[in-house]
């Protein structure tokens, strides 16, 4: 347990300044942002009214800009831990909602 706590401590350390983005945030923001926006847009297909064919176009069109926005939001997180949480918490929520909508 201590090992994980040490990892958490390491990740949630506040850096001296924001002049370096680092590989961790880069990966979180590119792939995490893509994943998160993809889940959000898939959810949007269910939320928009109409048949699947009717509501599929708009989420596909806007996926890339949502991706860019998510990436931006993740990349400016204060600590690595926050960046990680910005990927996983909304993704988790969206996944649960998706499972619910899928089985509805």
């Amino acid at each position: 347990m201590n090992k994980y706590y040490a990892l958490y401590k390491e990740l949630s350390k506040i850096e001296n300044n924001g002049r370096k983005i680092g590989l961790f945030r880069t990966i979180c923001s590119i792939f995490g942002g893509c994943f998160l926006s993809y889940l959000a847009m898939t959810l949007l297909v269910y939320i928009l009214p109409g048949t699947v064919g009717e509501s599929l176009t708009v989420p596909i069109v806007f996926h890339t800009i949502v991706w860019a926005m998510c990436s931006l939001w993740i990349s400016i997180a204060l600590t690595k831990w926050i960046a990680l949480m910005r990927v996983f918490v909304p993704s988790f929520i969206f996944s649960i909602l998706l499972v619910i909508f899928y089985n509805l």
Binding site: G18, Y38, T42, T57, I60, V61, W67, S75, L78
Partner: protein, 525 residues
């Protein structure tokens, strides 16, 4: 404690916002520039594609007095013309194309000159200048890799635009600095603050076309509950519905003349500029004709997936159904309104050149962004030594070197004989070699300022001789082009000439050394 963390978070957040903008910006700047640069040529593609082909050197016909029947009806009357899969007819005037084309699956496309109603021979794959410029715009020459690369560049572009807008809102920038760096920063922000709304829409649709559709596979799989991976199977019935299959009656009856049908359709919906005719079961008594077009009174709402149409009976021209612009499903309307600024189907010359202007200043703003980064790198060295920097040399070759390379494409278009073997391969090969050559030259010369001036001078020579080569090789003098109503082709010649003069003027005016550059940029910006 909490307050201090919040303060730190906002300070570091601002720093990261700027840093991430700089890093992503400089990484993707050159690709974005290539996309914007060739995008400008892609916007004027209708004019270039008429300019490049001898077979399109005739006047744009007056659409009110075209005798459609004289061209279309003889082809349809040919006993073995295959009409079983439907026939498509493109009317003159669509995307600046003065010709009329008739095509059916598995047959040669038939192209007509509407002024004389005679069939013309197209150069086909021998002349692809406009197409090539368009392909360079979205990475097509690199096939799938190019699509993914430029699609990802577009996403990075969206990231930069969104991040840039946030930066301008939250961070205080100082505009009063008396050096080049501060001027670059000022104009980089100023221009993009003006043009970011159209820029964001154009980049968004660019990303959609390159990777958006491809990336939608898992999404489609999930929402269709495992039915299909291909989004078009679900969206096409809404965006591009198939024509209904009509049972043939298996008889041969005379059809109404094409002129009559077009007149009837025009009367039913006078707002539409018809540009496409689809014939179904032609010559059968169940025959239908669908006339599609663009409604210029409703820009942003039609043109891409939404084509307002009138469907008539082939025998007597009675109205079967018609679709107006607003009859489209809302998802189609949203799709069209985002695509409109990028595709510019059916828009008039003014709108086209307005978008050219927006993209031109965007290219400059992109350039200022790169110059800003380079200035920061160079600042640490004393003023009297020239700076030799890798990214600087690469940007010089990519951003300035591409101009003479493109000029060479235009020169070769009319210097090479049209029946030459592998003509297009040679043309684009020379373009590539010249462009790489500019990189060699940029790296060889120490003074980048001098090299930039040389590139621009070479470009101005290329662009200034290409209209003259065109006049000589095509046999159409400017006077003849004017007298025979080929303003669209003469316009390209004049455009190239003026572009060359501007390049020459700029090449003379640009500074020669670092010291001069500081004075120059603070004076003009």
């Amino acid at each position: 404690m909490n307050e201090s963390i919040q303060k730190e978070a906002s300070r570091q957040g601002n720093q990261r916002l700027l840093r991430v903008h700089v890093v992503v910006g400089i990484t993707f700047s050159l690709f974005m520039y290539i996309s914007v640069f060739f995008g400008i040529f892609a916007i004027v593609l209708p004019y270039v594609s008429a300019w490049e082909k001898p077979s399109k050197h005739y006047a744009m016909p007056d659409i009110r007095n075209i005798n459609y029947s004289a061209m279309i009806d003889p082809v349809l009357d040919e006993p073995d013309y295959p009409m079983i899969n439907g026939v498509q007819i493109r009317l003159p005037g669509y995307l600046g194309n003065p010709s009329l084309t008739i095509s059916a699956p598995f047959t040669k496309r038939r192209i007509f000159n509407p002024n004389t109603n005679e069939e013309v021979k197209n150069e086909g794959k021998q002349s692809q200048l406009a197409m090539f410029l368009n392909h360079m715009h979205y990475g097509r020459p690199l096939k799938d890799f190019g699509y993914w690369l430029f699609g990802f560049v577009a996403v990075a572009g969206l990231f930069l635009v969104v991040g840039g807008v946030v930066l301008v809102l939250v961070k205080k920038f100082n505009d009063t600095g008396k050096n080049a760096q501060s001027r670059f920063s000022k104009w980089h922000r100023k221009i993009f603050t003006w043009v970011f709304p159209p820029f964001i829409i154009i980049t968004l649709t660019g990303a959609l076309m390159n990777i958006g559709w491809t990336m939608s596979m898992p999404m489609t799989y999930v929402v269709s509950k495992g039915e299909t991976f291909q989004e078009w199977k679900l969206t096409n019935p809404v965006l591009f519905p198939d024509l209904p299959r009509i049972e043939k009656k298996n008889d041969i009856v005379p059809m109404l003349k094409m002129n009559e049908l077009i007149k009837i359709a025009q009367k039913i919906n006078p707002e539409i500029n018809f540009n496409k005719i689809i014939l179904i079961n032609w010559k059968d008594s169940s025959a239908q004709v669908k006339l599609e077009g663009y409604n210029p009174y409703m820009p942003f709402l039609n043109g891409t997936s939404n084509d307002p149409s009138v469907t008539l009976k082939g025998i007597d021209g009675t109205l079967i159904s018609q679709q107006k612009v607003m009859d489209k499903h809302w998802s189609g309307l949203i799709y069209d309104s985002t695509m409109f600024l990028h595709k510019l189907f059916g828009v008039d010359t003014f709108t086209r050149f307005f978008v050219v202007f927006i993209m031109l200043i965007s290219a400059f703003a992109l350039g200022f962004g790169v110059l800003l980064w380079l200035e920061k790198k160079a600042k640490v060295f004393p003023k009297d030594i020239p700076v030799y920097q890798g990214m600087g040399k690469l940007s010089l070759a990519v951003m300035i070197g591409v101009i003479p390379a493109t000029g060479l494409l235009f020169v070769l278009q009319w210097i090479l004989p049209f029946d030459m073997q592998d003509r297009f391969l040679f043309q684009k090969g020379m373009f590539a070699i010249f462009w790489i050559g500019t990189y060699t030259w940029a790296c060889y010369k120490i003074n980048s300022y001098e090299t930039a001036k040389q590139f621009l001078k070479i470009a101005s020579v290329f662009f200034i001789i290409s209209p003259f080569i065109h006049f000589y090789s095509s046999g159409f003098s400017p006077v003849r082009l004017w007298n025979e109503n080929m303003g669209n082709i003469l316009g390209v010649d004049i455009g190239l000439f003026i572009f060359a003069l501007i390049l020459f003027y700029v090449s003379v005016k640009l500074p020669n050394s670092r010291d001069e550059a500081q004075k120059f940029w603070t004076r003009i910006l």
